[in-house]
Assembly symmetry: C2
Homo-oligomer: 186 residues x 2
């Protein structure tokens, strides 16, 4: 079988293909899925997977990522991409001016769908919001999100990809998937 | 016929019933519709109406409201309720500290669905974000949104309901609806 990676983002598809090399052959399918509104990423990924499976009728994975800042009651949560586009990192730093608690975390939910139904795998990465952007690697919130001493934008991409929220979710999927495939004699 | 007002919010249903009195008899149906993510409220209301009509198979209206702040590239847009719950008016004022352009607007989209399909009616209300909350009427962003000299929270609800974004969308629907009903001999 070839596993469909359903996303509009070719870079994400490449990253997933690299991660799953040796486990399963993947194929990028740029299907546009409607996204539901929910405060958590698990149900969003699940609904995307349901829609994609109804459309494609083949084994597939989709993902959804959120960014949750404790001092902002979880904001921007699943709307991380929209908030980056409108407020940007500058807006996030402004909202956190003077905040004592700067803890935040990313969560990626990977949803796998096949004829048996949908299964979710989540990965989480905890860190702190910096007081100013640092570094030029990565994208999105990476320059203001530090794990230990360094922001994600100060890490080489290959290093970030070893422990990121998405890597952790994909790892959980990868650990489970061969067992399932063996059981199915695929 | 009785028009179904599909919303989880009984106050909204009451407000709509009062507004449409004399035009059509309405019935509150508290169906929970999944909400799609979109940067505009029209498509969100349309998808809610589509889902509700597939479920109920009777003429109905749903609505969706967004709040768009120019200096924040339209933020919070259709995520107005989520942002109010997390950042609140305090967060909005902080994001706008020192902003020269404080213009903002509300948009409500009302979607009507029947066997002929879906029709959208939009109402918009322009104003300015204040530098501090004022007034105790209304709810949500009302204390920081001024139309002319007064915030919406400084206006009696009955007065606000005469020119609000929701009133304007419902007016447009009301103006169209009797003509349609006459044509159908209902």
């Amino acid at each position: 079988m070839r596993l469909a990676v359903v996303t509009g983002n070719p870079h994400k598809a490449e990253e997933m293909a690299a991660f799953l090399e040796g486990t399963v052959e993947v194929e990028h399918v740029p299907l546009d899925c409607p996204e539901y509104r929910d405060d958590e990423v698990g149900p969003i990924a699940r609904e995307k997977a349901r829609f994609a499976y109804e459309t494609l009728c083949r084994p597939l994975i989709v993902d959804d990522t959120g960014f949750f800042v404790s001092a902002l009651r979880g904001f921007p949560g699943p709307y991380a991409a929209y908030v980056l586009r409108t407020l940007g990192n500058e807006g996030m730093l402004r909202l956190l001016e003077g905040a004592a608690d700067r803890s935040a975390f990313f969560v990626t939910a990977v949803a796998y769908a096949d004829a048996d139904g949908i299964r979710l795998f989540e990965g989480r990465l905890d860190g702190e919001i910096t007081t100013a952007p640092r570094g030029s690697e990565g994208f999105g919130y990476d320059p203001i999100f530090a794990v230990g001493d360094r922001t994600l934008a100060e890490l080489p991409l290959a290093e970030k990809n070893r422990f990121s929220h998405r890597a952790r979710a994909l790892s959980a999927f990868r650990d489970w998937f061969p067992a399932k495939s063996d059981g199915d004699n695929r």
